[in-house]
Structures are given as C-alpha cells and as structure tokens.
C-alpha cells in the first residue's frame, strides 16, 4: 500500500513532521509512506492563466497515484495553519486529487489538546465539494505534549499512544481497501465533482 504523508506546516522544527517520520518507519512493513513537504509551495493566489505551479502539480500527481493520504496538522489559532490551507486550496484548484481519496488525519501539539480543533476544521474543509475526500470516520489521533513525545531517535515514547496509533493505522488500511472498492463504481460522480465550480453552480450549472 502506497500512502502520502503531508506535513501540515512550513516550520523548520515540527513535531508533526516527526510524527509522520515515525509512522513512516514504524509502519514500514505495512505500507510505504512518502512524507511530503508543503513549505516550498507558493501561497495560493488564483493564477490568471488558471495553470497551477509545477510544484503543486507534482504534489497533486503524487496524491493521485497513491492509495491514500495522511495529513498531520498543527493547530494555529484553533484552526489549521494558513500554509496547509493554502496547499489544500491549490489541490482544490488543480486536478482535485483528493476526490474520493481515503484520508487519515493526525496532529501533534505542544499543549495537551493535541490539535483537536484544527482537526475538526480540517474535516469540514476536506468535505467541501471541490475536495470531497473520503475521511476515515470516527477515528482521530491527537498527540498532545508532543515536545516530550519523541526520544532522540525519533521514537514515540508514550506506549498508550503507540498502541492507539497502531489501531488507528490498521483501521485506516482496511478503510483504504474498502473505500477504494466502493468508489470504483462511482467514477461518473467523481468526474462531475472534478468539474464542480462555484461560478457554474451560482449560474445554475450542472451541480
């Protein structure tokens, strides 16, 4: 199984990056997780020629080719960081690779809440008509106190969190398999979603 892990921040030091790197090596037998950075993507701004920058297209292609996506988000001001929002805006603007794509959300925070509110926002965002990701329901992985969560070798030191993550990840792998079966038969609807536009919608278009 091939998965893309998206580091939801542009910060040089990020426990969310650590979390994905940890998952990458810890689950290396179960899945191949490629950790992708968004820090070098330009800030979203609708281009006049309607063509996404090459770096965006590259990420978009990787997601299209993958079986599923794991997003690791920090929480800034009760929501997801602007830089992650910007990346998502680009994805909803290009070939919309998240449509019907299985997505697992995880997040790490220095405080005790573990990005609960950012994850809530991210779920609502990924449910937007231009994104329509297939979010794994009823499963959230919140890692609080993340500054003390990893040892020098990048290993997660909280045993109960390791167990929780294992269960979450196992469920996600099942979810990926089942979901990809499910959406096989809905290609026409997916294509419609790829064509969705608020302009067309507002003008009585086909959506």
């Amino acid at each position: 199984m091939k998965l893309i892990g998206i580091v939801g921040t542009n910060s040089d030091h990020s426990t969310n990056r650590q979390l994905l790197q940890y998952m990458q090596q810890y689950f290396s037998k179960e899945a191949e997780i490629e950790v992708c950075e968004i820090k070098d993507l330009p800030a979203f701004n609708e281009p006049a020629d309607k063509v996404a920058p090459a770096t965006v297209q590259e990420l978009s292609n990787k997601i299209s080719a993958a079986d599923g996506v794991i997003i690791s988000t920090p929480e800034y001001d009760h929501s997801i960081p602007a830089v992650l929002k910007s990346a998502i805006e680009w994805l909803s603007y290009t070939t919309r690779p998240l449509i019907d794509k299985p997505v697992m959300i995880v997040g790490a925070s220095h405080g005790s809440l573990g990005t609960s509110r950012a994850q809530g926002h991210l779920r609502q965002i990924l449910d937007a008509p231009e994104l329509k990701a297939r979010l794994m329901p009823s499963a959230e992985f919140l890692l609080g106190h993340s500054l003390t969560a990893f040892d020098d070798n990048g290993q997660l030191v909280f045993p109960e969190k390791v167990q929780e993550l294992e269960e979450c990840f196992e469920e996600f792998r099942d979810f990926v398999t089942i979901n990809n079966e499910l959406v096989k038969n809905h290609q026409a609807k997916a294509e419609l979603n790829r064509q969705f536009s608020w302009e067309l919608d507002a003008n009585g278009g086909q959506n």
Binding site: N10, A43, D77, P81, V83, I88, R117
Partner: protein, 808 residues
C-alpha cells in the same frame, strides 16, 4: 469612530472587496472605514519571523490604533482563505493587535451560503488565545448569490439587504463603544515600599530591589556583582528601563539572553504581587513606545564598521586616533561579539619578557623537534624563515641545557608555529597553509598590538606567561581583568570617550555600492526602521559563521560529519553575515571548508567556561571508560578527532590543586555546578568513577599512571611531555566535555592592507575586512590565542588603510 476593514482574499477581483467599498461609502457619515488588503502579506512561517516587515507593521499599527475591525471573508473549501488565515497568524505570533479589539464579520459568496461556514470558522479562530478579538455576537451578515447583489456603481440593490446591513453596522458601533470599555486598563494601586526579590542570573540568583510608589514602579536595582560581565549587562540595564519607562511588564526579551530577561520581568512581577496588585494587569499594558512610528534614519560618517566585537571596536578606536569619525553597527543588543567570550590570553612573541620565566619540562623537547624537521618539508616561502629559526634554536638549546633554562621565544618561532599549526589537508586531499604575507604581518605586529592595547587602557598581568588551549607555546599576554571582557570594556570606553558612535540592534542588510566603490551600508534598526549610513569606507568585522550550522555544513570539507545539533562556543550572532555582504559585491572566499572545533566545550551549551577549565599542562582527559585516549597537548583538531573517535563525550579530571588553576570560576560557581549535576565531585577517585559509570579499578590505574608520567616528565602512552600538577589531593573533579564549533578559518579573501579582494583578484574599493570574517591566515587550524592577535592587528590595519585611501 475609526474602523479598519480587511479584505479577506488576495484575489484580483473580489465581491468582498466590493462589499467593504460599499460599506465605506454608505457609512461615511457615521464612521471612517479604512480598507487594508492582504495581498502582499507573506505566508506565515514561525521559522522565518517577518513581524517587523513593513506590511505586518502596517496591519499591527493600524489595527492597534483603530476602534474596531470589520473582516469581509469569502469562503474557500468551507473555511476562510489561507491568505486571510496567514495575516491572522502573523497578528497572533509576536504582536497581538486583535487582543480585545471589537470585530465584526461580514462575508459574500456566489452560493446561497454567503460564507456561512467560513464565518463560523473565523469566529473560532478569532477566539483563540493568541488572537483574542472581541467578536460581536449574532448579527451575521451573509451575502449569498453576490454576483446579483450589486449594481454598476457598486451599490447594493436590494433594500432589505441594505436595511439589515445598516442594523448590523449600527449594532457594531454600539458594541464597539461598550466593548472598548473593557480595554481601559485596570486601576492599579500598589502598597508602596521596597520589595526584596531575586532574579536568576547565569551564576545563580541575583538580589533585586523593586521600589513601588502608590501608582508607579519607581526603581529596580539588581545586584550584578556576581554576574558574568558583558552579555547579561544589557539585560540588567535595559529590561528595568523599559519596565519603568512603559510602567509595564510587557517587555521584549533580549536575544541571546532570554532566560535572564524573563528572570528580571518575573522578579518585578513578584514584587508587584507582594504590593497587592495582580501582575497580569501590568503584563497587559502596551510596551514602552509601542505606538510610536519610528522614522527611517540616515547618517554620514568617515568609516562605518560592521560588528562591535574586538576587531570592529579596534578599527573604531584606530579611526578615532587618526582623527576621523567611525560608526560601529552591531546587530545584537550587546557589544563584544565572540571576543567577550574569549577565555584565552593573546599571543605575541616578546622574548625579553618571556626570558624572565624558567622553561618548563618538555619545552626543549618541542624545540628539538622543530630543529629536527626536514627543511624540504617546509613550504618554499617559509623556508628562509625556518632556516633562520633553526639557527636561533640551535644556539639557544646549546646554551640552555639545565634547570636554569629560560623560556625561549622569537617572532620567527611564532611565525613558523602559526604556519605549522595551520597546515592541513582536507577530505578531498586539498592542502592548505597560512598565506605567508598575512602570517608575516600578524606575527611581526603582534607585540605592537599588545602595546597599542595598553595605550587604549587594557592592563596586562605581566607576572605570568600562559598558554591557551591549542596554542603550542607559552606566549600568552593575559589581561589583569576577566579575560575577554577586559578588551571590550577598554575599547568601548575609548571609543565612547572619544566621540565614536556604536549603534546596537542595527542589522546590516546590504552594502551601498556606487560606481564600483563601497560607500556605506543599509541596515534595519530595532523597531524595524531603515538605517542608511554613508561613509568613505566600510570595514567588515562581523566574525565568522560558527553559529550557522547550515553554512558550516554547506562549505565543510574537513570533518567527516557535522551534526545538525552541534553546539557552538560562539555568540549566536556569528552567522556569516559579513561573508554574505562581501559576496554581494563580488568578494572571493578562501579556505571556507575548514572549521575548528573546541574539543573542550560544555556538552549541553557549547560554552567554554563551565566546570574546571585549566591550562593543558594540567589537563587529564579520560574517555567514558575511564581511560586516557590522547596527548592532552594535542592541537584542537587532534583532540576533537580523538574525542569523536571515543564517542564525543569525555571528562577533564582535576584534583583540589588543579582546581586552583582553573580560569573564570569561583568556589561558589563550582558548588552550584556540582549541585546542578554539570560538574562531578567526589572525595575518592573510586567514588568519582562510580558517579561517571566507569570501572573504578580502570580509572584509578589511569590516574596512577598519569601521576607517574608527570614525575618522569614523559608519557610513553600518548607522548604528553609537558606536565605541571598531578592528580592527588581530594576532592576530585570531573568536568564533562564534548567538541563544539569554535572558529571558522575561512572567509573573505584579503590582502596585507585588509582590502577585500574580488573573484578576479582585484581590490574592491572602499571595502576592508578584519578578524574572523576574513580568511587566509589561520588556514586549516588556528592556534589558540591567535584570534585575539588577529583582530587587534588587522582591525588597526583595516581602519588605517580605509582612512589613508579615502584621502587619496
């Protein structure tokens, strides 16, 4: 009433912009609505703080000054646009203008929803602690199907919509009035008196007296007599000043001294609490001078000097001596750069003085080794000097055969040792040695630099000749006062007393280059203001790049590996700024791949003077198994490589007598470090070994062997041949050490007049460099004690030529 409207998108065409424009026009009689655009705001990045950029400052200043804010948000993917989120992140990071600010939300969208979901997200975001806006409840203004809402003049067409917007807006006017009442600062009444509190310093708690009258913080006195001089001084002057000026505890910490900065603020908070007032009220007050717009500054002077370390202040003093005016710019709040951290004395051959001291065992052996060298192994340009030195040494050795021998030195010995010490080959097989003409200048003028410093006001302790770590020879001139700071204190006093200007927190961003001549600098000041200084010449004295791990790794060709988390003995300011400035006008670089590690650094902080740091004749180095692993007299990179080969961490062993020879410490500091677990002490060697997790038998054997070698004057295991004290008197100490980045030998290519040379070998007019920013002298390895000699010698040369050539 004054409002700021924020267009929540960077899109070229936006109905939300149209809506705010309409509100501005429609409500012009009731309120002044100024509209700000987010288009030019950079993407928020916590690792690249741009709070001081003009655009963020504009947002901060205007929102702070306004009565309220109206945000018009579109909806992107069920939430607010990233462009708007980015602005809010900047405005909740290091500045917080939304704190308590009355805020109204409006939004327009193409669908029926009218940005309903984005507005809910925005409410939650504005409620986050770092933002903490006072968002008006209810009164949701959602403008759906917006493409049909406006006429050609940009006016809303539907009367019902206009009526509702008017209701919302008049509500917001009332809400603003009421809500801003909460922003009136709490009334504060102290119980007057003087309160004794403490603040943590580097070397333990410092006593602090805070005097409060009924309404004011009147006085803050900190007893700093126990503190390391230099770095912390600024904290103990500036933080209290800002607290008193602003009558606030909302004070910026000083970079490089955040712990002590917070210590002072917390200490005053404690006194405020003792006087019956909640310190949070004072933390919520604005910063001193926060609301003043700082105008750009422009100056004209003779010589502008970048960096207020030893090289820069030397150039400034020399400029003043030649009757010209310098301005020194320093990016940090404190002056002193790396010089203030220097622990070693400075090298200069002064044979007449050194002659008064007896030779110590082993020194003649060192000289005999030089005599025995094959002249063919010496590079051609140094060979005549080497042969002349060999004659000198043979004469000396023939005449000094017994215990009455004196300490030999000469300019030639100094030169050849600097050359030999710097000769290295990197991992690519590239050989490097000191550039002869520069090494000759350094060694010929070293003593003159000592004498010049004495004229400036540095007092040297002539009763002792010492050798810093990695110096190879005893020719160290040690200031009478605490070592590194003594130079900085004397030089800065001289510069200030003679009318020179030192501007701290002035970060140079570019050189002014007119018609191929460097004639000034552009810098950013503490409050983000642009500072332009025109001058006839610029001297770069900004140090090397030891605190810039990325740059070290980029250029490194010498060490097999440089860790990402390597510590440094350098000031955090030393990030290669001058090298980049030089490159911006085409400067050539030399020897950039060679960096020096300080083998004996604190494993946690990279600092030199923690634990017991003694002269090398008293070093006893043992690895984590309790065994010696190297000749303690080895050059720095021999020691470093040996340490790396032994797992990095090792220990310096001392007894009570050796302890007495440690630099820069006191019994109190020692006790404190033992208590903190950063220094180990035990009444027995076996006990010490147990504390360190070593086999006591192995460790005891190691020390017994060492003591025997010291008696015999020769160490058959590792070849240490200069000894002073043995390890015999309890209590015994172990200081943990690990290599850290200490010096970068490479830098800007200069000539003997300290001109910076460009890539085609030409002098860059108007640009000079002195000290660690320049390369070529120390080549592959710098001798201990030579950096000070370098900065005081080339600092003078740079200023002299800058002035002489400006007159031409």
């Amino acid at each position: 009433m004054k409002f700021i409207g924020i267009v929540g998108t960077n899109a070229e065409f936006s109905y939300n912009r149209l809506l705010l424009n309409y509100m501005q026009k429609h409500f012009a009689a009731e309120a002044d609505l100024e509209i700000l655009e987010v288009t030019d705001v950079p993407m928020f990045n916590e690792s690249d703080d741009q709070t001081n950029s003009p655009i963020i400052q504009t947002f901060n200043d205007k929102i702070t000054a306004a009565d309220g804010v109206i945000i018009a948000t579109p909806e992107h993917n069920h939430s607010i646009p990233s462009a708007l989120k980015s602005v809010l992140e900047w405005l909740s990071f290091n500045v917080h203008p939304f704190d308590g600010k009355p805020t109204m939300l409006v939004g327009a969208s193409l669908s029926d929803q009218g940005s309903s979901r984005a507005q809910l997200h925005l409410r939650q975001i504005l409620d986050a602690p770092g933002v903490n806006a006072a968002v008006m409840p209810g009164n949701e203004f959602l403008l759906g199907n917006v493409q049909l809402a406006f006429d050609d003049e940009g006016n809303l067409k539907d009367q019902g919509t206009i009526d509702f917007l008017e209701t919302c807006f008049s509500r917001f006017m009332r809400f603003t009035k009421i809500s801003n009442l909460l922003n009136i600062p709490e009334e504060i009444t102290f119980t007057p008196g003087t309160f004794d509190v403490t603040t943590p310093g580097h070397n333990g708690d410092l006593p602090m007296k805070v005097t409060l009258s009924k309404k004011r913080i009147e006085k803050i006195d900190i007893d700093t007599s126990k503190e390391t001089e230099g770095i912390a001084d600024v904290v103990f002057e500036r933080i209290p000043q800002e607290i008193i000026d602003g009558q606030t505890l909302n004070v910026d910490v000083i970079s490089g001294a955040s712990i002590t900065s917070h210590g002072v603020i917390d200490g005053v908070a404690q006194a405020v609490k003792m006087a019956g007032v909640n310190p949070d009220y004072l933390r919520q007050r604005p910063k001193a001078g926060a609301l003043q717009a700082i105008p750009d500054e422009e100056y004209t002077t003779d010589v502008v000097i970048v960096g207020a370390g030893g090289a820069g202040l030397t150039a400034a003093a020399k400029t003043l001596q030649e009757g010209k005016q310098p301005i020194v710019v320093e990016k940090f709040p404190a002056i002193g750069g790396n010089t203030v951290r220097a622990g070693g004395p400075m090298n200069a051959a002064d044979p007449e003085w050194q002659k008064q001291f007896p030779a110590i065992p082993g020194e003649s052996h060192t000289l005999q080794e030089i005599v025995a060298m094959d002249p063919e192994s010496i590079d051609a340009e140094y060979r005549p000097d080497f042969l002349a030195l060999r004659d000198q040494l043979q004469t000396y050795l023939a005449e000094n055969t017994d215990e009455n021998s004196y300490l030999f030195d000469s300019t030639l010995l100094y030169r050849i040792q600097t050359y030999l010490g710097g000769k290295r080959t990197d991992l690519n097989g590239q050989e490097i040695h000191g550039q002869y003409d520069l090494v000759k200048i350094l060694t010929d003028h070293a003593l003159e630099s000592v004498e010049w410093l004495e004229d400036i006001g540095v007092e040297f302790d002539k009763s002792e000749v010492t050798m810093p770590v990695g110096a190879i020879w005893r020719r160290g001139h040690k200031p009478a006062k605490s070592v590194g700071y003594a130079y900085i204190e004397a030089l800065s006093n001289y510069v200030k007393a003679h009318g020179g200007q030192i501007m701290t927190e002035t970060d140079v961003t570019s050189l002014i280059d007119e018609d191929g001549r460097v004639c000034g600098i552009v810098a950013t000041g503490a409050k983000g203001q642009k500072i332009t200084i025109h001058a006839q010449a610029v001297v770069l004295a900004s140090g090397g790049f030891g605190a810039n791990t990325q740059m070290l790794k980029q250029y490194n060709t010498y060490w097999t590996e440089i860790d990402d988390d390597i510590q440094t003995s350098n000031s955090p300011a030393i990030t290669g700024d001058g090298i980049r400035l030089g490159q911006s006008v085409g400067a050539d670089l030399v020897g950039m791949g060679f960096s020096q590690m300080m083998p004996v650094s604190d494993p946690e902080t990279g600092e030199l003077f923690t634990g017991l740091q003694v002269p090398p004749q008293n070093f006893v180095m043992v690895n984590q198994q309790g065994q010696r692993f190297v000749n303690e007299y080895g050059s720095r990179d021999t020691l470093t490589q040996a340490a790396i080969d032994n797992g990095g961490l090792f220990y310096l062993i001392a007894d009570d007598n050796i302890k007495a020879t440690a630099y820069n410490t006191s019994q109190e500091k020692i006790d404190q470090q033992v208590a903190a677990g950063t220094l180990y002490r035990d009444e027995t060697l076996a006990g010490l070994a147990q504390q360190l997790g070593m086999d006591p038998a192995v460790f005891e054997q190691t020390i017994a062997n060492y003591n025997r070698y010291a008696d015999e004057g020769l160490d058959p295991e590792f070849g240490k041949d200069v000894f002073d004290l043995k390890v015999e008197k309890a209590p015994f100490y172990a200081t943990p050490r690990k290599p850290a980045v200490h010096h970068t030998m490479g830098g800007l290519k200069i000539d003997t007049k300290a001109h910076v040379i460009n890539e085609t070998g030409q002098v860059i007019k108007g640009l000079y460099a002195a000290g660690e920013v320049a390369g070529g002298i120390h080549a592959g390895n710098r001798l201990g004690g030579n950096s000070l000699t370098d900065i005081f010698t080339f600092g003078r040369i740079a200023a002299h030529n800058a002035i002489a050539e400006a007159a031409e």
